[in-house]
């Protein structure tokens, strides 16, 4: 019986942690998506200096998140986001609006996908 109670406690800890983890994931991915949208707004205004600054902010946020996320999320997903950020950086340095916008859409999708994949939904269970 002792093993049963120990395993029950461990499972309860997992469940509580995963609820908290999902909440943190939603918050951090929302944070990144907001930064992406800020960049898009600056592109609308043709403010490429502002775009570069916002990209630096986005990159700093991403660097801060990648370490804790890497313990819980598949590395392939994180690598895809990293590659996308590098592409955005290059397109912004060339002031290429079309490519920057398209890559920002991809980046937004990749970031949202991480959270949506972890969300407790029937679609994810089945």
């Amino acid at each position: 019986m002792r093993v049963f109670w120990i395993s029950l406690v461990i499972i309860c800890i997992f469940i509580i942690f995963s609820i908290y983890y999902t909440y943190i994931l939603e918050k951090s991915s929302g944070n990144i998506v907001t930064s992406i949208e800020d960049i898009e707004k600056k592109i609308d205004k043709n403010d490429w200096d502002g775009v570069q600054k916002d990209l630096d902010i986005l990159r700093n946020k991403w660097e801060g998140m990648i370490k804790p996320w890497s313990s819980f999320i598949e590395h392939e997903e994180l690598d895809n986001i990293q590659v996308s950020i590098l592409k955005v950086d290059e397109y912004i340095s060339m002031n290429n609006e079309v490519l920057t916008r398209s890559e920002l859409s991809v980046l937004k999708y990749l970031v949202r996908h991480i959270y949506l994949k972890e969300k407790l939904e029937l679609g994810n269970i089945f």
Binding site: V3, F4, S7, L8, I11, I73, E74
Partner: protein, 226 residues
């Protein structure tokens, strides 16, 4: 490569601990639900070892979940016979009072050749000597012979027997087990004397030393002795 090595070590340790916590049931004859869990644990442990991109937690959580489910099912089956029948199944009697039950054989999909083969392996060569044959939920065959064909026991011969005890190991691989010595009521002086009589001056020369219920010491040496 070091990453794969470390992940393997961690998951191996975890699986070892989990199997140990699941108890002797898991290592011995497996019931159907235990077999499922053992197979699945192997699968869950292997996936993060093979693919370093998958977080280790994706192997740890399923393994711990299986530990919880196994202990939960064990507790439920302990308390409820209905649950036991539902989860484990029940034994099938394929021979009853010396007569084979053809319907049950068909239901279990066992042909006569297979049955005879298993009986021969278990040492039963003649079907007419058997009273009952039961297939247990774990697939093992239990056989009860007719009384006329049972081996003789001391009781049948009216022979008085002495009470039996289990052998107790006192030295294993050169090291004394003081707990067992206390259990067997032996002290160091007695053990030293016994070893000396048998030609052993040092514990480290002894692979195994155990006593039987009559307090006779039997010793196996680490080296070949003439």
């Amino acid at each position: 490569m070091l990453v794969v090595f470390l992940r393997s070590v961690i998951l191996y340790g975890l699986v070892l601990v989990v199997i140990r916590l699941m108890g002797k049931r898991q290592i011995g004859e497996l019931q159907p639900f235990e077999l499922v869990i053992t197979i699945m644990i192997a699968e869950f442990a292997a996936t993060p070892i093979e693919n370093s991109d998958i977080p280790l937690i994706n192997g740890i959580i399923p393994i711990m979940t299986l530990l919880f489910l196994e202990t939960l099912l064990s507790v439920v089956m302990l308390k409820s016979e209905t649950a036991r029948k539902f989860i484990d199944g029940k034994p099938s009697i394929i021979m009853n009072k010396g007569k084979l039950n053809y319907k049950e054989l068909k239901k279990q999909r066992i042909n006569i050749n297979d049955l005879l083969e298993h009986l021969r392996i278990d040492g039963y060569h003649n079907l007419h000597e058997l009273e009952y044959i039961i297939i247990e939920p774990d697939g093992q065959l239990s056989v009860i012979s007719k009384p006329d064909y049972n081996p003789l026991t001391a009781r049948d011969m009216n022979i008085q027997t002495e009470p039996v005890g289990i052998p107790i190991s006192l030295i294993i691989d050169g090291r004394r087990n003081y707990k067992n010595m206390e259990l067997a009521n032996c002290n160091n002086k007695w053990l030293d004397n016994q070893l000396k009589v048998q030609g052993y001056s040092k514990d480290k020369d002894v692979l195994l030393a155990y006593i039987d219920s009559k307090k006779n010491l039997y010793v196996q040496s680490k080296e070949e002795r003439g």
